[in-house]
């Protein structure tokens, strides 16, 4: 009475074939989905935004300046100590282009009034993280920016 018996699991030939067909069908579906998704992947052309662009000569950027490089969609920020930072001009809130406000010495987004300091750190939300950056390469006295690599900074706290 207390003995539990597991019912014998009988796999008929028909069942095996059914499972095999279902499996093959599933694989075919997955492959099709894979083809579609790869086909739809973004296509990036050489020389467009996304490649390495030359912003200008090092000497063209005085210390403590912010310069908009429109074809690279970015700002070259030269800090007081002479260092370079390259900041993506796209707001991290909802993607508007953020202008540099020379008098306020801040980036102020026209869309929902996010504000960022000279290095792109959030001073006023709703932006949830600092402006993104690109790697800067200094080569033969030229400032180059790798716009293919977007560096996200993921702090979510305010900087004041």
């Amino acid at each position: 009475m207390s003995e539990t018996t597991f019912p014998e699991k009988n796999l008929s030939r028909r069942d095996v074939l059914k499972i095999a067909w279902a499996f093959l069908g599933g694989v075919a579906l997955l492959e099709t989905a894979g083809v579609f998704i790869s086909y739809l992947q973004p296509r990036l052309a050489e020389g467009e935004f996304g490649s390495i662009i030359t912003a200008g000569l090092v000497d063209e950027f005085p210390p403590n300046s912010v310069t908009h490089i429109t074809n690279g969609r970015l700002y070259i920020v030269r800090l007081g100590d002479g260092g370079f930072v390259s900041i993506y001009h796209r707001c991290t809130h909802l993607g508007c282009t953020v202008p540099w406000d020379q008098t306020a010495q801040k980036f102020i987004c026209p869309c929902h009034n996010s504000q960022f300091d000279q290095q792109g750190l959030v001073e006023n939300p709703p932006a949830p993280r600092p402006l993104d950056m690109f790697p800067v390469i200094i080569e033969n006295g030229e400032v180059k920016v790798d716009t293919g690599t977007i560096l996200q900074r993921n702090h979510t706290k305010l900087h004041r």
Binding site: P42, H68, L94, T97, C109, N113, K157, L158
Partner: protein, 466 residues
Amino acid sequence: MTEQTPQPDPEPSVLDRMRERLVPDGMPSDDRGRMRMVMDSLILHIHPAKVEVSTLKWTYTWGLGGLAGLLMMILGVTGIILINNYTPSAPQAYLDILELNSNVWFGELIRNLHHWSANLLIVVSVLHLIRVFVTGAYRPPRELNWLIGVAMLLLVIGANFTGYLLPWDQLAYWAITVGTSIISYIPLIGNWLSRLILGGPEVGANTLLNFYSMHISFIPLLIFGLMSYHFWRVRKDGGLTLPKKAESTLDVKPERVTTIPHLVRREFVFAIVWIAIILVFAMLVPAPLEGIANPDMSPNPAKAPWYFMGLQELLLHFHPLFGAIILPGFAILAIFLLPFFDINLASVGVYFRSQRGRSLTLLGIGLALIATPIWILLDEYVLNWNAWLPTWDMLISNGLIPLAVILLPLIFLDEWMHKTFQADTEERVLFIAAFLFIAFIVLTVIGIFFRGPGMSLNWPWAMPVH
């Protein structure tokens, strides 16, 4: 006996055989009969032969489903014509619209018709949804048709959104930029999905092509397929729900009349009147068009399309994960699930369920009209969780805390309805829905009319011109 070969009939001509296939029962002998045959077989594909008299009453459905269908047809026809004068590439798309407006016969009229019908369709679909909701017409057996309806509403919004980008002006570019950035806040797959849809890191040539192909193939195919099914299900579910008066015990005796002419005549007049209204409107009011898209210059303020302004207003008050994903996600989920937990068949067909339902709806509307502006003003000028809790994660200070501030009173209100007014489930659903919907409308109106440069609050008449 000799076998006699059967004499073959005189061979019918090709024309006769064609006619035989087209009209197997033979043509009626008179003109009237012939006309009638064609019309009848067409109409009775969509409609049943007889309909209930009470459902013909104009003040029950307000003809909203029919109007949505009419707008779909206008959109399909004008859309197909527009394809001939439109190139989905930047900057040609914008130039094509200019050309359409100035150099193509009736070009501007066709564009205006498409534009205004599309916008009206959103309003009409939502009103139709409200009609179905407040008459309880989604209850068994009509749950499936409700689900299909919600899917169509989402697709209509999708069609509007993908269409919005096509003119490639500043309005289009920035509205789509703001709208698609919301996607990147979806946890885990957000960034990948947004790149896939945009075809790159930001709105550009690839985005235009992607949106165009969605707009003219995938979305319309789905909508028109679902719409046919929606119509068929109305028949399959036994026709429309029957209108009833609140608290009336006497059963209206069902009385059926023939669809032709009783229903068809009404539909015909209704369609003619609405076509005239839309035509006149499209002749008088041009669809907006601004300067060509310029990725380096966001206009100030940059606003999403009007039907997303409620969401954009929410985004001013919440961390984007809450404002753009969690809250709207829950709202859509709740709308989908409504017919499965509001199932009292007794009040199907009664506007607002009951006398008490009517009062509670009014109460919900009134409370929302008062509470929403107060909350917005408080959040704008007084509450500043970020500054008060500077070391807290913004997900909490700008997400969970304001959410709790809103939800707690709502839960309290619901309890109060239950305890004080003995409201049952269907009346509580009505109350909460009325409150939330009107709150959303208030957010939308404030977003559209009261937000100026830098998204600061302004009176509409005191708006600085930029």
